[in-house]
Symmetry: C2
Subunit: 209 residues, 2 copies
């Protein structure tokens, strides 16, 4: 399937068949898509937890109003943003770039100023929103890649983020939870799969000028 065929096939899976697990190759494929999708300046200002542990997932489910995806899906991809993003992280990023493309770090002086200037001009709330938006691009790639591979996925925002942070000890790591992709295989009992997809007419969504 290509992406468009895959996106027509997929739906927001509420009930997964908990006996069906992704293969190692499927999981690595999804991780590659998330890794290679671009982010602003290439900074990747997030960390992605792939959650398998059943005890942790039972706790997360409680913090997500009991939604069954949290325990029935094969894995939970949780995107978490850095709550602080300062010159130290910019420096790590510049070093990585210089290393991979084999040029002296001194060449990055102008870029360093641009990055640090851009970031320091944002309020903590603006920075948090900017970072979160980058994670949403990656969520879009995760949904696209899952659909292409006929892996079921439910993207989710509806959960208690403060409780998630607490359960996973994210605050201590300078992280905060943003959004989720629950991945696996649909249960034949999930009635949502029989509904037609609801989308605006393309003539309403798009305007060519």
């Amino acid at each position: 399937m290509n992406i468009v065929e895959g996106l027509k096939w997929r739906y927001a899976t509420k009930r997964f068949d908990s006996n069906k697990k992704l293969t190692k190759d499927q999981l690595e494929y999804l991780k590659d898509a998330v890794n290679y999708i671009p982010s602003s300046f290439g900074l990747q200002p997030y960390k992605v937890f792939v959650i398998e542990n059943p005890e942790i997932r039972a706790k997360l489910q409680e913090a997500a109003w009991g939604q069954p995806q949290l325990t029935e899906a094969s894995q939970i991809f949780l995107f978490a943003n850095f709550t602080q993003y300062g010159p130290d992280k910019v420096e790590q990023f510049l070093k990585l770039g210089a290393e991979i493309n084999n040029y002296p770090l001194e060449n990055s002086a102008g870029y360093r100023d641009l990055l640090n200037g851009t970031i320091s001009s944002l309020t903590p709330e603006q920075l948090s929103n900017w970072n979160a938006k980058q994670a949403y691009i990656a969520l879009g790639a995760l949904v696209s890649a899952a659909a292409e591979q006929q892996i079921d996925i439910c993207p989710m925002e509806g959960f208690d983020k403060a409780k998630f942070d607490e359960i996973l000890g994210l605050k201590e790591q300078g992280l905060t939870s943003v959004c989720i992709g629950a991945v696996g295989s649909r249960s034949p009992e999930d009635k949502n799969q029989f509904l037609k997809k609801v989308r605006k007419p393309k003539s309403e969504l798009f305007e060519t000028i």
Copy 2:
């Protein structure tokens, strides 16, 4: 190419070959990917402008610090969010769902309350950020679909949003610009295509728990 191969092939194209235009089929494919990607509750709280007009694009380029993608790419996809999202739009959405899946609108009473309650609990700024995040999911799908089809794409946030809104008359339409995907074919002269992709090691980006 599958998505992962495509994402490895793509890079942030700065210089497009302005003689190479997407075919009608390529353009419809990208629009389908954007249309079928999910958004929160399925609301699609955005409109997407596909900008071809050279005069308008010259003005947008001025409002984007002269970046060449704005005039050289085949098309500019501009995602714009609704600045207001109230019960009238929720009603349109519910009617569309009832129509497509052929059930009486009365069945949607609980869902109507949930949607209106969720939306009215947000401050205008929170609503704006929530809507914008949905557009970023769609941007992630646009990048993924372009990469899969070997269409070059440059996702962009760096432009003067207030000026874009003015040039395109978005305010009068209750919209505001969010992010861009410039699509087309790379110019052989774009040196960025020869750089290696800079990404964190997967062991740093991901943690399995």
